[in-house]
Symmetry: C2
C-alpha cells in the first residue's frame, strides 16, 4: 500500500475561492488522490493555514539563469552539455513555483529548430527531481511581420520570407517536431497527437498564415497570433481559423484606435454587425461573450505594459488573461551587460534593454512577481489571480484535467504560499514556501 | 380626487430586468404613484405586454430639425423667434423617446453664451406639451486643447486662450448662468444651487483647468473632461479634481497606448501602484473597482466609434457607459449640404461630414438608434441597454430620484416600446409606440 502524503490545515486555491481543507497525494503515482480510508498510512503535514495552489505554468519563457533555450547545442560552455545545462535551469526554476512550462524558442534559422526542439519537447519523465517539466516547446517565430520583430534575430525572420505557407512552416520547424512524435506522450487522452512543439506564435496576415493556423490547430498544436501587423479583421481571421490565443497582448502588434480597434478589439468578442452599416462576419448569436474571444498572454513585469492597460484587458475579458514571463536567460542573473545572439543586452533590476537604448528586449521576472504585480494592479482576490498562472494556461493547452488543478487524478504539482504584507501596499504579496512536483517536495524555503 | 392613469399588462424596465406588472401615474402632479386604493378612479390602459421604460435622457445634443441651440437668437429665421423654434424642436424631439436633455452649445464667443444660456436652462415647466424638457445646458467648450477642436469654431477656442482659470471661465459663460439662478429650480433638494448650466466639457490639462473643475463641481455643475490633449495622469487629475465624466469617449482625445493608456485607461479604475516601480497616487484600497471610475459618453452611431471599441469600453466599465447622440441640427433632416457656422456640412444617411472631406462633423442619429446599435454590438439585454439612456444619465446629473426611473414619486416620463425583429439580426430592435411626459401621453405612433 502506498504511503500517501496528507496536507492538513491548508487554504486550497479552488476556482475563485480559498477553501480551508485537506489534500492528499500519492508520491509514487505523482497524483492527487481522493480522501482515503482513514486506516491508510499517510504522513500528515500541518501547513498552518498557508495557501496551497497548483504549480505555476509559464507558456512563454525563453531561458533563465544564463541559459537560452535557443542556444546552439554544439556551442562551447566549459564542457557542460546543452542537456546538462537545460536540466540545471529547470531544477533552479522550479524553486520559483513554476512546475511546468513551454520552453520558448525565439526566431531562428531552420537548423536550430531541428537541433533544439527534440531537447525541448514534453519531458516525458515523472521524476520529481528533474525540475520544471516541459509540456512541449513554444516556437515564437520566425513567421512574423517584418515590422514587428521586436528584438528577435532579423536574419531569421527575413529567412522565413514573407509568406507562411504550411509547407514552409513544416520545413522550418521539421515535420517530425510538429506531429506523430509518439515517444513523447504527455496527453493522457487517446487520439491526441503530441509533438515536441505544443505552441506556435505566428502573424496571421502573412499569405498562407490562415491555412497554416487551420492545419496545425487541427493537429492539436496551440496556435497563438502575435508579432503581427494584423488589423482587427485580420486578427479575427486568425482566431476564426483556429488560433486560440494572442501572444503578449499589446507588445509587437498594432495598437488600438477607436475606429480600427486592432487585436485588442477582439477581447470583447464579436457581434452581428461588426462593420459600419453592413453585416460582415454575421454571427448567429445575440451574446458577444460566447463568440471567439481569444486567450491572451500579458507580461506584467511593470515595463512592457502599463498597469491601467492590464486592468483594461483583464476587465474586458477576465477569463482570457494568462500571465507569462517572456523571460530571457537574464532571469535570475546579476545586473550588467551580456552578449545575446547578435546583440548586447543590459539588465538593470527587472528591466532588460538593448545596450545603450530604451528598447525593451524582454523581461527577467518570475511568474510569481507577475502574479504579485497583477494582484496589486487589479485588486483581484488571491485565488482569482492564481487562475492566471495555473488553471487558465492549463486550459489553453487542453490539459486542465492534469495540470493547474488540485483535483484527484491530476498531477500533484503544487506550491505552498505565504502572504507577506508590504508597507504602503493594500494587497499582500505572495511568497513561495514550498514547491512539490509529482507529490514530492522539491523545494522548501525554510531549508535554504 | 385625481383621476389616475393605470397601465396594465406591461413589461416594466426595472434595474436589469423586465418585470411584468402595472404602473400608476398622476397626470396632475406629473409623477408616478404607488398602487392606489382599488376604489380610486383610474383609467386603465392595456399595454399588451409591451415594454415600458423611463423616458430617454440625452446629455449631449447640439440641435435637431434644422435648429442649432448655439445659433444667434437675433438671427433672421422667417420671423420665427429663437424661443418658438426651440419649442418646436423640443415638441418634435420628444416623439423619439427623449423626454429630457441637456441642450448643448458648441464652442462660442462669450456674448453667445450670455445670450443663449438663459433660453437653454432648466425648463421650469411641468406642461407635458412643452416637449423635451431641458435639465440645464451643456457647455461643450470653448476651453479645449487647441489640437482637439474637432469641428468646433476655431476662433471661439482661440479666443478662450490657452488657460482655463476660473475667472476666465466664469466670465465666458457669465457667472449668473453658472450659479445662484434661483428662478430655475429643477432639483427638489434644498440646498442645491441650480443654474442654466448643468454640465461643462473642459480639457483638464490647460492651466487652471483643475481649479475650475474643483470650484464648479463643488457648486453642483457636472464637469466632464473632453476635447483634450491629456495623457493618462492628466486625465486622472481631472477626475480626482471633481470631474465625473468623459465626454464622447475616444473622440477628440489621446488614443490608448499600452504604456501611456490615455483617458481610456481610467475606465479600469486605479490601484496602489500605477507607475513603474514606484508608488505614485497611492490609494488605500485593494479594490480598483471602487476608485474614481468616470462615467463616459459614447456616440454609438456606427461612424464615430467601431463596435469593438464600444464593447471594450462597456465590458471594462459597464456601469459607466452613457449613450449620447452628439446630434447636430441635421438630425431629422434630409440628406444634402448645408451651411453651419463658418462651415458646410454634408449629411448622407446617418453620416455628417465636412463638405468634400472624410472628417466626421457630428451625428444625426436619435438616442433610440444608438440604443439599438448598442444592443446589437454588445448583445446585452433590453433592460440593461436601457439603463445607458435612462437611469445612468440621470445618476450622472444627481437626478436619479426624479428622472430615469419608474419609481413612485419620480416624474412620470416614460416610453412604450415594441420589439421589432430585423432580418439577419439576432437581437430585436426597439421602436417607440408611445411617449408620455408628466403622466400625459404626448405621442402615439398609432395616431400618426
Amino acid at each position: 500500500m502506498t504511503h500517501l502524503v496528507h496536507l492538513t490545515n491548508a487554504r486550497l486555491a479552488t476556482g475563485d475561492r480559498l477553501v480551508s481543507g485537506d489534500l492528499w497525494c500519492d508520491p509514487e503515482a505523482g497524483v492527487f488522490v481522493p480522501p482515503p480510508n482513514p486506516a491508510s498510512p499517510a504522513s500528515a503535514i500541518d501547513l498552518q493555514n498557508r495557501i496551497v495552489a497548483p504549480g505555476f505554468l509559464d507558456l512563454q519563457i525563453n531561458g533563465a539563469y544564463g541559459f537560452d533555450f535557443s542556444e546552439d547545442p554544439a556551442g562551447e560552455h566549459a564542457g557542460i552539455s546543452y542537456t546538462e545545462r537545460y536540466g540545471d535551469v529547470r531544477r533552479k526554476l522550479i524553486a520559483t513555483g513554476t512546475t511546468s512550462f513551454l520552453p520558448t524558442m525565439t526566431s531562428q534559422l531552420p537548423d536550430r529548430y531541428h537541433q533544439n526542439l527534440p531537447f525541448l519537447g514534453p519531458s516525458n519523465s515523472r521524476d520529481p527531481y528533474d525540475g520544471t517539466e516541459s509540456l512541449g516547446a513554444h516556437c515564437e517565430g520566425p513567421f512574423f511581420a517584418h515590422n514587428r520583430m521586436g528584438v528577435h534575430l532579423p536574419h531569421a525572420i527575413h529567412a522565413s520570407g514573407s509568406t507562411s505557407e504550411p509547407k514552409r512552416v513544416f520545413e522550418t520547424y521539421g515535420a517530425s517536431n510538429l506531429v506523430d512524435s509518439d515517444l513523447l506522450s504527455v496527453e493522457k487522452e487517446p487520439g491526441s497527437i503530441p509533438s515536441h512543439v505544443r505552441m506556435i506564435t505566428i502573424a496571421p496576415e502573412r499569405p498562407g498564415g490562415l491555412e497554416t493556423i487551420r492545419q496545425l490547430s487541427q493537429k492539436g498544436i496551440i496556435m497563438s497570433i502575435g508579432h503581427m501587423a494584423a488589423n482587427y479583421q485580420q486578427a479575427r481571421a486568425g482566431i476564426d481559423a483556429g488560433a486560440t490565443m494572442i501572444t503578449h497582448l499589446y507588445n509587437q502588434m498594432n495598437g488600438h484606435h477607436h475606429r480600427e480597434p486592432g487585436p485588442l478589439g477582439m477581447l470583447g468578442g464579436a457581434s452581428d454587425v461588426d462593420s459600419q452599416n453592413e453585416a460582415k462576419n454575421l454571427k448567429q448569436s445575440g451574446n458577444s461573450d460566447a463568440i471567439n474571444r481569444p486567450y491572451f498572454g500579458i507580461i506584467a513585469d511593470g515595463n512592457h505594459v502599463h498597469p491601467a492597460s492590464v486592468r483594461l484587458a483583464y476587465l474586458t475579458h477576465p477569463e482570457g488573461l494568462v500571465l507569462v514571463t517572456d523571460a530571457l536567460l537574464l532571469l535570475g542573473g546579476e545586473d550588467g551587460t551580456i552578449d545575446w545572439l547578435t546583440r548586447r543586452l543590459t539588465k538593470k533590476g527587472i528591466s532588460v534593454k538593448l545596450e545603450g537604448t530604451d528598447i525593451i528586449a524582454g523581461s527577467c521576472v518570475t511568474l510569481l512577481q507577475c502574479l504579485n504585480n497583477f494582484r496589486r494592479w487589479t485588486g483581484v482576490s488571491i485565488p482569482v489571480a492564481l487562475q492566471a498562472v495555473t488553471s487558465r494556461p492549463a486550459t489553453v493547452l487542453g490539459l486542465a484535467h492534469i495540470k493547474g488543478t488540485l483535483q484527484p487524478g491530476a498531477d500533484a504539482d503544487f506550491v505552498v504560499l505565504r502572504e507577506e504584507s508590504v508597507p504602503g501596499q493594500s494587497t499582500s504579496d505572495l511568497a513561495v514556501d514550498q514547491v512539490w512536483k509529482f507529490g514530492v517536495k522539491v523545494f522548501d524555503e525554510s531549508a535554504t
